[in-house]
Symmetry: C2
Subunit: 275 residues, 2 copies
DNA sequence: CGGCACGTTGAGAAAATTCAACTCACGTGG
DNA sequence: CCACGTGAGTTGAATTTTCTCAACGTGCCG
């Protein structure tokens, strides 16, 4: 991990404004996050009552390569990324890995364990990370107090469902070239959303991780990235990627398969307005 | 759709016990469901206050082939399957379909729209269905009143996330034979959980639907099912399937690919017990 | 310096798709 | 009542895509 990368991508989050918060963050030798900071990371509109809430969430710091949780581990807390990059993956009985996501700042981890009370996946840091611990019991209790939090949790889980649906679609219908192109585009827009360049960025994950995420081998990922570079759509140098022709990447399509099926008409359901 | 299928799979749900509920279900020419019935379908332990809650959720009935909602449609209600079979799917710009799930009794539909307020997928009935409408606003309001409902919603969404993760894994690492075998096994256990036979069941969906769900063509699905039948693991006659050797199906594995990677040790995070 | 993970590239093999043909069941309309 | 069209399912043959296996270069870290 070069100093450049750290400069570009692992810079500490914006310093907190008020001195008492900063003090709060470091009490007892640990870092802490206020409700307000958590709400801000989760993109929930804050309120006065939130900003004045004295409750603090504990942070942990993990080094690159360290797991945050493993498969089968009992679940009792969710994790919110404050800084850094991770991967989440399923591991099957023969040790084969299926990467499910590459979480970064603001992403919530461990959500697939709420239903079963055991983690269904593992999360591993790809760089040094700061993680906010959100005890699940505490969160549901808070959800009953703050409608905003309850709704934001529903929305976060729903978006994760939609994201996985989109990934299923990628794995189900796209060929290798389009999978890689879509992956690079999505990484670009995520970096852009975090305030970095969406055209030129540093991939934290290996080709093998990308391949696992996209249902391809590392060799195929390497070959496709090479061919995208040869056609001028991107430039690559190891993990550094430049998207030279974003529209070109977007316009890539798998070769047409079967003829379209006729879609049935949508039907207006009989709705009763008032109960 | 033969009379046999209807007998086996589309039988009306258990009649409600109390006459006033039955009366309530049919008021104003529509069918209605009590809070208690909704809780029961969602597998939430009921309470006295739930059982006495007079609130009723409207039902709709849709015929086989009819869509319940389409992609892009504004979201304001979730759907709970009371009876029948459906498919949910993404449709891309060239009309290609990606089946995401085959919901049946007790399954919640439309959850991928909560985050974006627009439906990300479409749901289409594969048989005549009874669907309970759950207005989202109403649900979040109720969630603030009943902790059980809030938690059950989180758990339902979480399980859907985990289910999609498992499907991503199937699409990412398994070959066609294992995909089909896993699919049949999962259909079997779902039928079993609903009280039907888990060994002998009728598939409502076409080979093309299965192929779309598994990221395969209908021809490949057909060939694999044929070969599973030839090796004696299953028997098929059109959409009727008998799982003759469940352990045999379970033991199928994709051919090994790359050597295992060494896993890092899980690390005990430094936790502060008391805030 | 050596070991090792990462990345790339080539050649051959395997898996799944594509295209095509054919059957079957079903419903519609003449 | 039958002809017809349509969607579903199956099967075969050729093609394409991706994987597998292998070799090799690079950079990093102990």
């Amino acid at each position: 991990m070069s100093p450049l990368d750290d400069l570009l991508f692992d810079a500490a989050p914006t310093p907190l404004q008020s001195p008492e918060l900063e003090a709060g963050r470091q009490s007892r030798g640990f870092l802490w996050s206020t409700m307000d900071e958590v709400f801000s990371l989760l993109n929930i509109p804050s309120t006065a009552s939130i900003r004045s809430d004295p409750f603090l969430f504990q942070n942990v710091q993990i080094k690159a390569g360290q797991p945050l949780h493993t498969i089968g581990q009992p679940f009792d807390t969710l994790y919110l990324v404050r800084s850094g990059f991770l991967k989440t993956a399923l591991i099957d009985d023969v040790g084969e890995q299926q990467v499910l996501s590459f979480p970064m700042k603001g992403d919530l981890l461990g959500v697939d364990a709420i239903g079963s009370k055991r983690h269904q996946s593992e999360s591993v840091a790809l760089s040094d990370c700061e993680i906010i611990l959100l005890p699940y019991k505490k969160l549901t209790a808070l959800g009953l107090l703050h409608e905003g939090l309850e709704i934001a949790m529903f929305e976060t889980l729903s978006r994760e469902i939609a994201r996985r649906g989109a990934l299923i679609n990628v794995l189900g219908v796209l060929n290798a070239e389009v999978r890689v192109a879509r992956f690079l585009l999505s990484m670009g827009s995520r970096f852009e959303q975090m305030g970095y360049s969406g055209k030129r960025f540093y991939l934290r994950m290996t080709r093998r991780h990308i391949g696992s995420y996209l249902g391809l081998t590392q060799e195929t990922v390497s070959r496709v990235m090479g061919s995208l570079a040869k056609t001028g759509l991107i430039s690559i140098s190891g993990k550094m990627v430049i998207l030279d022709d974003i529209d070109g990447l977007r316009s890539l399509r798998s070769v047409k398969r079967h003829p379209n099926v006729r879609r049935p008409m949508p039907v207006q359901l009989a709705l009763v307005k008032k109960v």
